[in-house]
Point group: D2
Chain length 341, copies 4
């Protein structure tokens, strides 16, 4: 069965896999100290225009969010996130597990509003009892969001201004960054994004790698002894090369960006198919995840023919579902979708 | 200056203090194993009509919430609470500190709605991705609430029914339980309350003691090795007698209930004073905390004359403030308030 | 039955209790912001000769150790302690509960050896894999130790020198500090002790108070937002006055030191009684806890006549037991002991 | 430069890598729900002779230890381990990070002694104060140990008997299990090992995989909602196939065992080389890690010629170093070693 359920259905982009094959028998030192990790870090710093950035590789997204947030926050601080943010909803309480509150603010189409964040923080400091409350210590956003939407440059600037005013870092979860940067609606470049936050991560798992995310501390130093903290969180691979080699391939010859562009092209075609079938869009997403509303009867009929993801209940007779493209999506798959829909 | 800022302005009720003085030189074993602790536990079980209940003493309210919630919840669970609940707002993230999410639901006058809780939990289990989310593992309410309001018996029954349907405990924070039970609007007795939840605590600190809360596991066994867990949380006093003697006094001759009645009588007088001065009530509270809206100019004028608590911003020119009574409130204090208001 | 089982068998020293009674009806602000807390802090700073020290009050010893250690340590650090230290053995894992390792070093008569600490830390940094290990971030000692022994000034200086060489704080658990300072073998004053460590606490629970310990950050600033962290750990009393009033009394007119002296006088008499009965001492303790070896048959015979504490197995036929004095010990009690032994 | 520094110098065994290449474009569901994970689990259950076992895949060893130990232990429990155990020394405090104490017992050649464990636990329960101490809740051993040594069947039976007597699980860290099972000194089979413990893991990272360990709950049920707990610990890969495909290959046609045998053959040759050069062995290891004592002058001379691992200081002029073989070790590499040594 052909599936559009997610952007992590296949293994690695062929060029990435090829790099793993090619380097397989090289003897390399462990724990991320090998030459491919070094090379990948350099290429990422170059691509971000941040020669001073500190780059680290982690295996997965939840792990990255947990590691970065819990080591950047101080004991008395929590992290502000959209109520629909990944850390608020779908990480099984991974942030709270490390002792910190996720301060959930209402979101619009998956996005945090800079004014709402400012109101929250200024309200916190205005409250005479605020010493009995967890302090806002970071703002977390995802780019693209969990609903596929993008912050405009202006929105990012506004959020970053709030963070700077209160001297707290802005952290951008870029699990699908490649698909965001390639979107027609994206109005920032990677170097610009890096200047609009203190720390972000470049998602590999969903953008061509078998696993792996690259954390980039671009506007703040990494927490002291981050390697030890990574080990302590269980987030360090003995064969760090596994991620280093993949990111080295992704950032060679612009592959990471090419993967994004290709998926977005396929998304445009996917949107045309969905639109052509008269399916209402739940949200106007400019990236590789598309959310449409299916009648439950239609959903039941389709689910043995094509893969898609349950997202959320829409109403008693309808459900929001997700169709996603990736680097691996083909024209043939879309043609099949058009037939079965 | 006379103050109505809170119900913990004075030390202990004279009869409680007297018990401490009277027993001071008795040699008693440590860590809550003394005869006064035993006696107090027996009296509490009697007052609750729960001969099988397990009773423990803890020094303060936040500590009690932290200890009970973190030891009753399993690792994959969080606790449902009102967005205005004490654990959501004013405990500095003490629950998250132990690794668990506080699942904040909207509240009305400080109260959780049973239907909203049921919708949340049923929605959780209906979500196909719920294994990637923290499980609802307990419902926390306060009685009275942080806004002085009370759940009716019917409301408690409805909440308890939801909890039973999903086999999770209902935990009642009774930091001001004495003032709730004595309210004219209260339609449950202490034994009835004990049957409507699995665990609750009887607040001492705000109801006549220098410190101390009594946790009552009435509808579930206490977590295994609760004594060890209490020690591990830093919540065990070497001189456990300090709390045992006080609760023994509070539950001798109905003192705990008498304290509640007296404070509620004073509250009625307080409300008359506030109403007489034309101050709008922010909420209709039937217990010992009263919330009125003060113009900021009035607030500035008053603050050197009488004590009250800042609660929250009402609008740009007004503020919600709290006036509270306790066992220690006197007619003279209320007369003074009438003069200065 | 008369007991020498511990130094926390009675309530408060009469002068301390009297202060609680005298101030009972004063209206005081909550959470340690009252005038008695302020006054007590000032008196403690004066007694320590540290006008700049930050002083905080916490209810109990385990809580104090947990709060101080977990908020001073950084995420990648553990605390060095004697294998027999209170945090290593008898706090139910309270330090590990907060995420930090207790690095247990062998001890001699309850004491850490400065050279052993230096070897441990220098060995850590010499290890090429030390980034995969928790960093030594603090040294914890107790004064007196759990075996009643005292570090000499020279030993304290040596330990402090190691800590300074590695820029980590020395933390002194002074649960029984009053009994240590009053010992004939003590060769430091309170101000000298305060200069030989970065942070310590002055025990109240075992030295005349109903509860309460005073944390003194004398050689380092308190962790940022320590009040919020205290609340988050469940370690803040609403009626902070309870501890403030007691410490104010303890540090008025030298009462704290007088309590120590009195207990040590009684200890000398106790030692004479034990020695007179030919009981072998397990350790040569110069403070208020005395450890003797009892034949198990003798132990069984005595245990219904006089109170003492089981300490540890000595051999198959003998047990180490503890007899302790305190401010409350009387000549009559010692005469009774002489009769029943 | 040729290196014997560890058994994780190369990528994956060619057959494992080939499986990743072959399946790369198959669309598979995420988070370990794919057919290769299922197939691999079935093959592992078969190989262990445990048709009822629950099997889970985790990316790395520290993460596995952290996840298993913290979710199996109850709040009041710690884990017993050898002082030289991986969780005691080289996991950066990952166990304590989750709130549990590692109870370190002396070890002999990396091994825990069953009698010492029994004495520790029986001493714990005999201690009248044990409710103030963390409870022993699990025994952790590694097979082979960190020093390459193996427990005999009799030693495993003795340890397991202690665990059963106290109703606590025995957990075996099998990071290098394949090299242990293939050793000439090994006197247990995989099914026998599975019956001698409650839970263990089969190491992939060091035995032919790019990453991945297989946790096998063979003598106890997995902790409830282990999937959610795995997500919460940041230990779940979106592309769970990455580990499933690899373990499916490792347990097809006995590859896992073949890898072990091959490495052990190479170890025998390695030992002959080291012995031939007159290097003293620090320990008599029957598995793929060999520890020899090098004069520091020799160490300096060698370190630019061949790779090996610093292990620990032996004395002022000598150092213990490790040479390891793996599935990837070749005769040519050993010939080179013989030349340069």
């Amino acid at each position: 069965m052909i599936s559009f359920a997610s952007d992590y259905l296949e293994g690695a982009h062929p060029a990435v896999l090829d790099a793993l094959v090619r380097t397989n028998l090289e003897q390399l030192s462990g724990y991320g100290t090998d030459a491919y990790c070094e090379s990948a870090k350099k290429k990422i710093r170059d691509a971000c225009g941040c020669p001073e950035a500190e780059v680290f590789f982690v295996a997965g997204g939840t792990q990255t969010n947990q590691l970065v947030i819990s080591t950047v926050l101080r004991g008395f601080e929590g992290v502000i996130a959209a109520k629909t943010g990944h850390i608020s909803v779908h990480e099984a309480g991974a942030i709270e597990f490390t002792g910190h509150k996720v301060m959930e603010l209402p979101s619009r189409e998956g996005k945090l509003d800079a004014d709402a964040v400012r109101d929250y923080i200024s309200g916190f400091y205005a409250d005479e009892n605020h010493e009995h409350m967890p302090f806002p210590g970071m703002v977390y956003i995802s780019y693209p969001t969990e609903y596929g939407t993008l912050y405009s440059r202006r929105e990012l600037e506004a959020l970053h201004a709030v963070c700077r005013d209160y001297s707290i870092p802005l952290f951008v979860d870029g699990a699908r960054l490649g698909y965001g940067l390639a979107s027609r609606e994206c109005d920032v470049t990677l170097p610009e994004l890096a200047r609009l936050c203190e720390v972000f991560y470049i998602g590999g798992t969903k953008v061509g790698a078998l696993c792996g995310e690259a954390v980039v501390f671009c506007g703040m130093p990494a927490p002291e002894h981050f390697v030890t903290l990574t080990k302590q969180h269980g987030a360090m691979l003995a064969k760090g090369r596994l991620i280093g080699v993949q990111f080295d391939a992704l950032f060679t010859g612009g592959l990471y960006f090419e993967i994004g562009r290709r998926a977005i092209e396929m998304t445009e075609k996917l949107k045309a198919v969905l639109r052509g079938k008269g399916l209402p869009f739940f949200i106007d997403s400019p990236t590789n995840q598309q959310f449409v509303i299916l009648k439950n009867s239609k959903l039941d009929e389709l689910k043995d023919k094509v893969g898609f993801s349950y997202w959320e209940k829409y109403d008693d007779s309808s459900t929001v579902v997700r169709f996603a493209t990736s680097w691996a999506t083909t024209d043939e798959q879309l043609e099949y979708l058009e037939i079965v829909l």
